[in-house]
Subunit: 195 residues, 2 copies
Amino acid sequence: MLIDLDLLYTWGAVAKEYKKGEIIFEEEGIANFYYQIIDGCVKMFNTNDKGKEFTQGYFFNGQSFGEPPLFIDERYPSTAMAFHDTTIIKLSKDKLIRILDEYPSIQKQFLNLMARRIYSKAKTSKDIINQNPAFRIIAFFNTSKKNKEGEKELITYTRQEIANFTGLRVETVIRALSRMNTEKKIEIKNHKIYY
Amino acid sequence: MLIDLDLLYTWGAVAKEYKKGEIIFEEEGIANFYYQIIDGCVKMFNTNDKGKEFTQGYFFNGQSFGEPPLFIDERYPSTAMAFHDTTIIKLSKDKLIRILDEYPSIQKQFLNLMARRIYSKAKTSKDIINQNPAFRIIAFFNTSKKNKEGEKELITYTRQEIANFTGLRVETVIRALSRMNTEKKIEIKNHKIYY
DNA sequence: CGGTTCCTTGAGGATGATCAACGAGGGTGG
DNA sequence: CCACCCTCGTTGATCATCCTCAAGGAACCG
């Protein structure tokens, strides 16, 4: 949980529910609000001229998203969409900036958060460049895995979502997955993927 | 210029010169220092199993680099190397953290810096995924361009460097460039690229 | 039970990677 | 001044891989 909910409400934040598939903000839109997820999941992505989608990342309970443009007066580089039904608390940009100025410890938290994001992005782009479907897919699974070490867990993303995240095509993902299955890198039971 | 040099020296920072090609820190190394470039250029990159290189970015005069791991206690995700002869001022991690705690305005600057990095990384990975050599190369040129709008300027990177940054191979870059030349997207005079 | 959404398979084509040479320029030392 | 070396740029041929297009099949949900 990033900023305390009570604090946010004190400063005039408002909770809003978004239905699955609803757009929260769009690429090139002006950044006016701070968003923090109370419950649900948000996907950030870009779409190119030919409608091909690239997923920048997923955000879950207690996480905030879309903050960088607030700090540097830029427009949104990507679109944010509710991936499931999601409740989000919204605070105006000015108020967020004022909170950061008043609470240095919160500012520090945000610095750490941004640092962590850069760190992951560096790791991810390194992996994506590394041509090779299986490798990219594994890298994606690793970032999305809940229980780090330990037994196999169900992957809840569709093959299309995996494709969007890895920059591959659905068919390529499917073929790579079945190859990985026979090579025992993953397990597929009844179309469900375990890793 | 990020942190004032006098301030850094006051806190015990030391300037050091690195010769072209010299390694400043290595992937997976422990992060103990804050680095700020006084003069020169630094390249951050990863190398995969087969020796293929992926350039994460270049850093120039007045910029700092390799900070994220300092904030989150991780190891370096990439290697940093002097791209030309470069003078760098080094400060220990603890001292940096203490500076940030004592000067909230500096902490804020770092927050803005990290936000800007995330913003660029988002733009870059979007572009790289967008299969198409010409597109990737143009995206790289745009980020490295000094005078934003305006007339053509000389690209000072070798074709190998362009390849490393875009995740392509040298030959592919060369062929793409000459196609872009005939299509007038760029200009090549005497092997030199203008964009 | 009908309609979505997701998954699967095959055939064919496009494109970037790979391998192998060679060319061109710049700097250095004899 | 010239020969040599080293880095960078260039070209062609071939190969592997992923994309594209097309057509179904399976699972899930109201």
